[in-house]
Every structure is written in C-alpha cells, then in structure tokens.
Symmetry: C2
Subunit: 240 residues, 2 copies
Amino acid sequence: MNAKPIAVILASGGLDSCVAAAWAARDYELAFFHADYGQRTLTRERAACRAQAAHFQVHRLWEVDLGFLGRLGGSSLTDPTLPIPQGAREAPGLPSTYVPFRNALLLAAATAWAEVIRAAALVIGANILDNPGYPDCRPEFFQAFERVMELGTGPDTRLKILTPLLYLDKAGIIRLGLELGAPLHLTWSCYQENLLACGRCSSCRLRLQGFAAAGVADPVRYVPGGRHAWREAEGPGEGA
Amino acid sequence: MNAKPIAVILASGGLDSCVAAAWAARDYELAFFHADYGQRTLTRERAACRAQAAHFQVHRLWEVDLGFLGRLGGSSLTDPTLPIPQGAREAPGLPSTYVPFRNALLLAAATAWAEVIRAAALVIGANILDNPGYPDCRPEFFQAFERVMELGTGPDTRLKILTPLLYLDKAGIIRLGLELGAPLHLTWSCYQENLLACGRCSSCRLRLQGFAAAGVADPVRYVPGGRHAWREAEGPGEGA
C-alpha cells in the first residue's frame, strides 16, 4: 500500500535535483518532471534524469518541450555561439547562463501537471549560495510563486513549493546526498559536454570543488585532466 | 520615429485581447504573443491573431508551442471527448473550460520573451465579470504574478502587467473596442467551430449577448440560426 502524497520533482538530471528527490522520497511518492528548454546538454541530462527515475522507481515521468525558450536566445546555456563561463564563480551581475524567466516557466508547467495528477508539492533543488546572480533562485521568488500557485489553480488544489537545498552549498548538498543514499553516480552537471564531463565549465568546477570539500571522489567520469582542472589558476575576469 | 515602449500583447485571436491591443496601441509599440496550448480551435484563432497583427502593423509576432498543456487533459477546451458547455454562464465552481494554470504559463512564456525584447509591459485582456469561475482571471492573481516577474527577471528588466478590461463586462469591452476602432471583424471567439461560429457554445453566447447589449451587430459570421441561438431558452443545469 502506498498512501504517500505525490511530489513533483523538477528533475534536471543534475546533482541538486537528485539530492532533492532523495530528500522528498522519504515522505512522498515521486513524479519526475523534466524539460527541454534548449539546453546544450539536453540529451545527456535527459538520460541522467531517466536513470534517476528508474533508480527511484518513479511511475510518473513527464518530459515537456519548452524548446522555444532556448530559441529566444540571450543565454550561454542555450546559445552555442556564446561561450560557457569557465570560472567556478561567474562575474557579478546577471550570469551569462541565466535563461530568461526559466524557473518561472518550469514551475508553471510543473504546476499544471501537478494540478492534473493531484500532487501535494513541487520540489526544486535550487540553492542560492552557489547561484547568487540568478534572480529566480531567491527565496522570495519561490514565496511569490507559491502565492501565484495558490491563487491561479482550482479551489481543490493545494500545492506548496519545497526547496530543501536552498541554503546549502555544494559540499553540503553532496553530504546530504551521501547521507540519503542519493544516486550521485547517475547525475550530470556539465554545461558543455555530453559524454565525459569537461571539468572546466562553471558547473563542473562548482561540483568538483564541492566533492573535494566533502572529502569524497566524484563518481562521474571526466575528460583527461578535467577532474583536476578546477585547481588550476583561473584566468582574469573569470572570478576568484 | 517610434520611441514608444514595447508592450507584449497576450493575443488569443479573440475579442478581448483585440480590444486590449487597441487600447495599448495608443501608448505602446505592440508585440503579439500567441500560444498553441492545444485548444480545439487553434487554426482559426491563429488566423484571427495574424489578421489582427497585420491590422495593427505589428513587427514582432511570436507564436509559441505550449501544446503539452492540452495533452495534459482535464479541460473541455482542449479535450475533444469532453463537451463544450452551451450556456452563456457555466455552472458554479471551476468551469470545465478551465485549462490547468494556463494563464500563469502564458504569462511566464510571454515574460521570457518580453525580457529578451526589452518590453515594458504585458497586456492581457482578462476580465473577471464574465469569468467568475476562473481562478487565474482574478486581480489578485495578476498582482501576485507581477511580483514573480519583478523577482524572477534580471535587474534591468522592469515589466508590469496591464489588464485594461479586468472590470468590464462583454458589452463594455465591445463599446470600448468600437470607440478605439478595434478590428472586431477580425476576432474569433467560438470554442467549438473553425469556419463559421456556432453561436451556441458559452463563448459565442457571451459574445452575442454582449453585442446585443451594446446595440450593434456582431460582424463575424455564424452557422445558420447560430446568431440568434443565444436567445433560446437554455436547458436545465446550463445556468440562468
């Protein structure tokens, strides 16, 4: 008998949403939501997401096409003509990897699904410490969106947004993941590559620093030299 | 020289958004946003939207695919196996034509575009008097969404939501449209048909009642007898 309420996980295939799923799995039946928003590494992310869904024995997986978001341009995460930043921290201001209003769109699409399958919660692995420049990772953004969900859905729908990682840094997220037995070997973080992680993009560096700080080896594979590239001195203009 | 700020119109092809566009055209350069969300009458709505865009000499028209919303099911507006309500007013409660969280999704997608083209406003023709059962047509919903836009977009983005028709009924909207010279002959409201309006669905009835109350003839074409069908007594359970 499974009488747990349903939680929709905004599952990217990455490390954060995997740990968020492991956290939610204790109290909820998981439903995985994955979006194509034109990200360069879509194929690899989707494979990671499906592998995690299998690991968690998820019965509901919804892959949705928000590809128009990538075609809007304006983000290095979706536009192959713009360089992916290579520092672990991006320069101050709006990061070049910011995708216009992406989290609001993901939350809106996930809410529509959550309303139909009568879920009780949306779970998003957002965290603010490692992503200070993203406006749509701030706690007040999620609070405001929760209000929109409350007002914009039917009277029988009761949905909350859960952000279990909001105030953790990458090392803290990795430690929590290890505690919970999250399948970190099935996650993908690289912004750049689809087969072996590059180790050099901002997302790889943040991940590798996090594993180093947590004192464990990252179980995913990197290009030759990639695993240690984050220790190299970073060039000017690419952050500290 | 055109130094007007840009307003993104959530253009459905219908009467309300056409009047909202005519209203906004006085102060803004218009950009038309139209979404496929799996509505039954998509082809006809899109044709109406394009004809209006041509009328307003719009340079930016973005047609976006939110078709997954229709495939979620749960709404008579997108699911051909559910009957379209035939009364001018639907029964109390959540209308069967409610599409889960649709307006939030439309606003989120339009906001992403608005951020990229540096628009100053989103304009939506929502009105609460004729749509009392839709949670996502309420003023507080739009206020809450505006807060999400403020928090979830980049620091240089300043976007407001304009709802010029919020407190008007259909007759009031038609009168305003006539005053502003809105191309009402290019609008499409029928939920059911693609060629000649049925006159019997809830949307046609509301429209025809509005034209009657405004004392002018509706310029669009109806199936034989359809134009006067709304005067017929309505069956039980279909509203007053």
